[in-house]
């Protein structure tokens, strides 16, 4: 006798695609999958921003930082000039690094 699949209802968690899913945002020290200091709900309301320097932050966190240092926008962690990367590009780059 054989059984036949009718429907499949799996469960998945979504995570921000960071180098280390358990890492925290360098600015607010909250988990990337959590929220920046001011937001309540993770998700599209509080997304991440990826830098070409391979550092990622909550969008709200890094924007505030860049506003404060608007003359010379640097990555707060590595002090290289801040340049935004698209998520895909970022993923490729980090993959290449690994």
């Amino acid at each position: 006798m054989k059984v036949k699949l009718k429907s499949f209802t799996p469960v998945a968690y979504w995570h921000w695609d960071t180098r280390d899913p358990d890492d925290v945002c360098g600015i607010c020290q909250n988990q990337f999958d959590g929220v920046c200091g001011t937001c309540k709900e993770p998700g599209d309301g509080c997304p991440l921003l990826f830098g070409k320097c391979t550092h990622e932050f909550h969008l709200h966190c890094i924007m505030q930082w860049l506003e404060q240092h608007s003359r010379k926008p640097l990555c707060p962690l590595c002090k290289r000039p801040w340049e935004e990367a698209t998520a895909e590009k970022y993923q490729e780059e980090t993959a290449a690094q690994q």
């Binding site: 699949l5 009718k6 209802t9 469960v11 309540k40 895909e88």
Partner: protein, 853 residues
């Protein structure tokens, strides 16, 4: 004097008499003898002495009898319209008169006058004498009242006669009252053989003497009217004839220590007799009492009587209540007290002449029956509540309210709620029923408060406070069980009850939740149950779920439900994603037909993925499992689709939460095609058997190797498939047994039988196991530590330096909406923060902390 002449006098006098008689008696006065005889008849008792007290002051001395009558009747008319006022008590002007009549100046001239006076006095004596029930006897020369009146007029015209006359009248009155007093005294000391009867007899005699006296005096007063109007008007220090008569009667009888004592004693004992024999008619005495009370009132001795009656009432009920309290149950006692109070209220209406007396009597009776025994009564409270005696409890409430002892009731009520409630909460063996029992208990108490205590706001506050106290006597467990209770209601939900019933249960459970202080514990358990309802699609009604979330939000604020709302949103969002995924798939499959190069293959089963925001869902242990290719590829395809749509996101599968629906044909046993609803783990195991020949067996180790499940999960899964309830045993195991062992072998159950088409195989791993419950609890405790630390750091950050106690209070204030902890826990937190170098002790200052940035 002949009867005829008597009658002729009477014709003139009758109107005059009538003003002192009640109208019912007026027709009796056809003859003087009848008029006088009427005094001794019982009906004369209704002749009120008050209405007969009319002394038209400041009226000029009448010139003729006719004009007198005109005035008298007009004055009577004017008097009927004015209310009778009781004169305030005044010191008695009466003094025993012993001085002889003043010597007359002109003997010869006055000789006739003296004789006239003698006649007058004799007549008055005869009228006043209580022995003469009939008109003046033949031994004394009978003189018509008109003649007597004329004599008085003549006497009054000689001022020197007036004082003499007045003194002699006074003497006559004293003598008459003395006779009455003597008769009362002698009758009082006899009649000892039948004390019950003697009280009534004696009081009747007293009453008769009094009304008789009033009748006689009013006659005398009419005869002496000229004296009243001239001599006494010009001598205001002297009492009028009427007042004098009253004063003498009052002094000699009601102020006589022996007689007044007798009167009061007999009145109170008559009343007590009525009290102790409530069935007996008391109308006889009632009439007598009101006459006697009126007498006391008229003679300004009423307060003494009232005081004694009140005292007797107090004493009577003191003795009776103590005896009753020992003899009968509290509930019966309350009924008794209530009945007594009603009776006494009725009785008061005739016992007491004014509202003041009635009120103070009721107050005294209340105090004796209830006020003085409130402690004993309240000892019976638990029993009355246990037996749900709503009526009795209402009586208890009203009675205690009457004596202003509701505070005591509040204390007793609170103590009962607490002790009974705590016994439910602490009954560890019946934890499963705790919430049902609490709700039933609460409903009972609610009903008592609303039905028996008239929804007294103070008492309902007591109820709330007491519930809060006892629910928190046991930490955390009630909160956990409330969450579980809600889960059961929201799961089974509408299958067994209507929407309104469900709402009612939710509201009631929410009230219990309001009382518990371990809100975080509730939240955590509620979240876990909620997650399962959502993921396993077990919610009875999404409306009910939403309504519950709304209630919780109202109760605890949006922060409390934020996570729960995200969970609900995740599930809804996932449905949307699945719709667009289906659209995407159908588009892709169409594209495949045109260009056959694509290797994409749409699976032949439905896929619906729940994508969760991890931070807001309960955490589940990650379990490794090797997923069959067909499932894995379907998942992978979706994963690619999802990540393409949501850049920067990546999906992580949590297979321990997944479910499947699979079709199995049990043709051999005649069962036909069945739809089995299983977990991903169960499905993965079942799918292994697809590759085997019919009847072939798989060993435990084979299954383990092929699924990659760790031992505990695998055993649990196999147990659910092969050792569950017989109608859900899809697999068979050899050897048979309840537990799964490593040497066991498994094979398909060809004889599977189940009447239903859809079969949910109990997903043991999804059940809240004791272990899981423990770990949930542990997680809450861990969270509490972090919340405490965070709260302390927040305060420190704001204050920089702070004293130990202040910091503790601030922290308690911050966390109280979520949970409560012992102060020792907070101290531990401080130690940790010092270790972590968030703060330090300030040197040289005791108990002061400083924030380290």
């Amino acid at each position: 004097m002949s009867l005829l002449s008597n009658l002729s006098h009477l014709l003139v006098l009758t109107p005059c008499l009538n003003m002192f008689k009640s109208p019912t008696q007026a027709h009796n006065s056809n003859s003087l003898s009848a008029a006088l005889g009427a005094r001794s008849s019982p009906s004369s008792t209704s002749a009120s002495p008050f209405s007969s007290h009319s002394r038209p002051s400041h009226a000029p001395v009448p010139k003729g009898f006719a004009s007198l009558l005109a005035r008298a009747s007009s004055s009577q008319q004017s008097q009927t319209s004015t209310p009778i006022s009781i004169k305030p008590a005044r010191p008695s002007q009466y003094k025993t008169t012993s001085q002889p009549p003043t010597p007359l100046k002109n003997q010869r001239h006055n000789h006739q006058q003296q004789q006239q006076q003698q006649l007058l006095i004799r007549s008055i004596r005869s009228i006043l004498s209580s022995q003469s029930a009939s008109p003046p006897s033949s031994s004394t020369p009978t003189t018509s009242y008109e003649t007597l009146y004329s004599i008085t007029e003549e006497q009054v015209s000689l001022p020197e006669q007036c004082s003499d006359l007045y003194q002699r009248v006074k003497l006559e009155m004293e003598r008459a009252v003395g006779q009455i007093a003597a008769s009362l005294r002698s009758n009082g000391s006899s009649h000892l053989t039948n004390p019950e009867n003697s009280d009534l007899t004696w009081l009747n005699q007293l009453e008769r003497s009094w009304s008789d006296w009033c009748d006689r005096v009013s006659l005398v007063r009419n005869i002496l009217l000229p004296l009243d109007r001239s001599y006494l008007l010009s001598n205001p220090q002297l009492l009028s004839i009427w007042d004098l008569a009253m004063d003498i009667f009052g002094y000699k009888i009601l102020q006589d220590s022996e007689l007044s004592l007798q009167a009061v004693r007999r009145v109170t004992s008559s009343l007590n007799l009525i009290r102790s024999n409530p069935e007996g008619s008391d109308s006889n005495y009632q009439k007598l009492h009101s006459s006697i009370a009126s007498m006391f009132l008229r003679l300004d001795s009423y307060r003494t009587l009232e005081e004694s009656i009140l005292q007797a009432s107090s004493q009577f009920y003191r003795i009776e209540s103590e005896a009753k309290l020992k003899a009968i149950k509290t509930a019966d006692y309350l009924l008794y007290a209530d009945r007594r109070l009603t009776e006494e209220a009725e009785r008061s209406s005739w016992i007491y002449s004014d509202k003041r007396g009635r009120d103070s009597n009721l107050e005294i009776v209340r105090t004796e029956l209830v006020g003085n025994h409130s402690d004993v009564i309240l000892q019976g409270l638990p029993e009355m509540i246990e037996q749900n005696q709503l009526e009795i409890l209402k009586i208890a409430y009203d009675l205690l309210k009457g004596v202003e002892q509701l505070p005591k009731l509040r204390v007793a009520f609170g103590n009962y709620i607490k002790s009974k409630g705590e016994s439910i909460v602490q009954d560890r063996e019946k934890d499963d029923e705790m919430i049902d029992r609490l709700l039933a208990y609460k409903e009972r108490i609610d009903r008592i408060v609303s039905k028996s205590f008239g929804s007294d706001s103070e008492l309902s506050n007591v109820q709330k406070d007491s519930f809060e106290v006892f629910i928190n006597k046991r930490e955390n467990k009630p909160a956990e069980l409330i969450a579980k209770f809600l889960d059961q209601k929201l799961k089974s939900g509408n299958k067994t009850m209507s929407d309104q019933e469900l709402e009612h249960y939710l509201d009631e459970a929410l009230i219990l939740f309001r009382y518990t202080r371990d809100k975080d514990m509730f939240e955590e358990f509620y979240k876990r149950h909620f997650a399962k309802r959502l993921l396993l699609n077990k919610s009875a009604s999404s409306d009910a779920e939403r309504s519950m979330l709304l209630k919780l939000k109202e109760e605890c604020g949006p922060g409390f439900t934020a996570k729960l709302e995200t969970m609900l949103k995740d599930v809804e969002l996932s449905e949307d994603v699945m719709k667009s995924y289906q659209a995407h798939l159908s588009k892709a499959s169409k594209g495949k037909e045109s260009s056959s190069s694509s290797s994409f293959l749409a699976p032949d089963f439905e896929l619906s993925v729940n994508v969760l925001t991890q931070a807001h869902w309960p955490t589940y242990p990650k379990v490794e499992i090797m997923i069959p290719e067909e499932l894995n590829s379907a998942a992978q395809t979706f994963s690619d689709f999802y990540q393409g749509r949501n850049s920067g996101r990546r999906l992580h599968w949590q297979h321990s939460l997944g479910t499947l629906s699979i079709l199995a044909n049990f043709a051999k046993s005649g069962g036909g095609v069945k739809e089995l609803q299983v977990s991903t783990f169960q499905a993965v195991v079942l799918l292994l058997f697809n590759r085997l020949e019919p009847g072939a067996k798989l060993s435990y180790s084979d299954i383990k190797a092929q699924t990659g499940l760790e031992e505990k999960e695998l055993k649990r899964t196999l147990q659910s498939l092969a050792c569950g309830q017989i109608p859900t045993r899809v697999l068979r195991k050899s050897p048979q047994g309840r537990e799964v062992e490593e040497e066991d072998e498994f094979y398909f159950n060809e004889n599977f039988k189940n009447e239903r088409r859809r079969i949910r195989i109990n997903q043991i791993q999804m059940k809240e196991t004791a272990e899981e419950q423990k770990s949930t609890e542990q997680r809450v405790f861990l969270d509490r530590e972090l919340v405490l630390q965070a709260a302390a750091v927040r305060v420190l950050k704001a204050r920089k330096t702070i004293k130990h106690n202040e910091l503790i209070n601030e922290v308690l204030e911050q966390i109280k909406s979520r949970f409560t902890v012992e102060v020792s826990e907070i101290k531990k937190t401080f130690e940790i923060l010092i270790d972590k170098e968030y703060m330090e002790r300030v040197e040289g200052e005791r108990g002061v902390y400083k924030y380290l940035a």
